[in-house]
Point group: C2
Chain length 307, copies 2
């Protein structure tokens, strides 16, 4: 952990939906992740914890693995008989890997949940989420571009990024690169530090570049390295674009789009099990030579390091 | 693992809802479970795997921890690029600890899901379960007392046991000891072996005693040791009965009710984080002296051992 005070992040889960390994996948990465001697460690589903003081934490996306993620990270353990350092939860889209963890955060623990109205509708449409007792859990409907307090002293602002509706809500072919309340990025500001968390994004527009330029840190969608990766690995028919995610590599990739920006710490998160950056090789080298870090479960980030 | 063939069980999760430790609990057991030196090991949420051949498995209850449970149990790893030894899933009630794991078993894997119509309605009422693509996942509506094939050669039969609706469906004070399709026990038969799996049960009637007498194995509801346990530990206001579970101890407890029955292997599963049987002590001794085993994650059971 970094200093006892200071704006910091803790990657709870660096993998995309399904994690690494995925339950029914025998691809090279998943086989390596099941072999403790391989050096490729298992990674859980997408979630980031942030804090200003190390005592009070906000969780960005509630993954189905959140119970194990809390067990694995001492900073999130209760300090009293009924207690949690987790004070608030923010959800950036309605995909199962970001939403289903809310079902675990029951047990009558006070908690603030921040979602857009579109994601709030998904929660309302699924009675199973009544597991979160409204006597203890307060849900806030967040308006895009309007700042709010995620934790005392930590301001957050949501903004639309191109994405699509969750897979379980698709009805025929979904609109791709839809911009609205279904998929959002998060700006976090504390003191002089400005951080962006964008775990799902189908395209980087000039407006998005302008927004994030000059940031202290960016955690960005690293789902697939190449758009047709799942097809070439042989585990699916969908492109990254069809899943609502832009590739890292290629002329339209995020590596190229982000290359000219002045961002002190850049890292990829929400990395799919098929992505070659999980293992040593030219793809991983390319990222590291370009100044990108590759997220991993338990990764600690000091957001104040540049200020 | 037992022989390469033969009717066997594998406890994937021995704990009740929330697991051990629970995310926001600092009770004695949860603190011990967070300390690797304590001897009290973490336990995941309630699930049992069964197989006749070690290659094809049925899962009884899909816990939110199922992704990690599959990682932790080699028998359930895929053997090909897209593959799972898990062929079928049976759900015994609609509580989150038994149902939410269905959200993990997506990724276009052929699977048979067996539920009563009451539990099927819960699934239908929550669009999030559309994550299970009907092109790959076949759901069977099971009628109480009517045998069906859970795996080739393995027959199952569901029967009502006293319980209540899931917590998230409570509307005011629920009916306790409700008998119907909301909470069921499972009879499994293969060859001469007869096994019962009853992870939730509010009362043992004479009819239930008659049913299970003479069985080769019983895995029974071990949620709480005493009815007021959560209150005395200080973590909640609810009795075991209010949660739909009978206590282990006491004149009305399961230990006393099951004592006179001729059952070769008896074990408790679905054990709450507050239950003293997780640690060494008089409660654990009492069970072991009475011939009961205490379930744990990864426990292997040879159901053929008596035949």
């Amino acid at each position: 952990m970094t200093d006892s005070s200071g704006f910091r992040g803790l990657v709870l889960g660096a993998a995309a939906g399904g994690g690494l390994p995925q339950w029914n996948c025998g691809c090279q990465n998943c086989r390596l992740a099941r072999d403790p001697a391989s050096g490729v460690r298992p990674q859980s589903q997408s979630s980031l914890a942030v804090s200003l003081d190390g005592d009070n934490w906000a969780i960005l996306n509630a993954s189905p693995d959140i119970r194990q993620q809390i067990v694995d990270n001492r900073a999130l353990h209760p300090r009293m008989l009924r207690d949690s350092p987790i004070k608030s939860v923010l959800i950036t889209n309605g995909d199962i890997d970001h939403l289903a963890g809310l079902l675990i955060l029951r047990e009558k623990q006070p908690l603030d949940v921040f979602v857009t109205s579109a994601i709030g509708e998904i929660i309302d449409d699924n009675p199973v989420f009544r597991a979160l007792d409204p006597a203890f859990v307060t849900r806030y409907s967040v308006v895009l571009e309007r700042p709010f307090s995620l934790l005392p002293g930590l301001e957050a602002r949501l903004f639309a990024v191109p994405g699509k509706v969750p897979l379980f809500m698709e009805d025929g072919e979904p609109e791709l690169q839809l911009e609205g309340e279904q998929t959002v990025g998060v700006e976090l500001t504390a003191g002089d530090a400005r951080v962006y968390y964008i775990p799902g994004c189908a395209h980087i527009s000039d407006a998005l570049k302008n927004r994030i330029d000059g940031a202290d840190a960016l955690l960005f969608d690293g789902t697939v390295f190449t758009d047709d990766e799942m097809i070439t690995v042989g585990v699916g028919q969908k492109t990254g674009q069809r899943m609502g995610h832009m590739a890292i590599s290629g002329a339209d990739g995020s590596l190229s789009a982000l290359a000219g920006l002045d961002i002190a710490q850049k890292m990829y998160v929400h990395i799919n099990n098929t992505n070659p950056i999980w293992r040593a090789g030219p793809e991983r080298d390319m990222l590291e030579e370009s100044g990108f870090h590759i997220g991993y479960d338990g990764m600690e980030i000091d957001f104040d390091s540049n200020t």
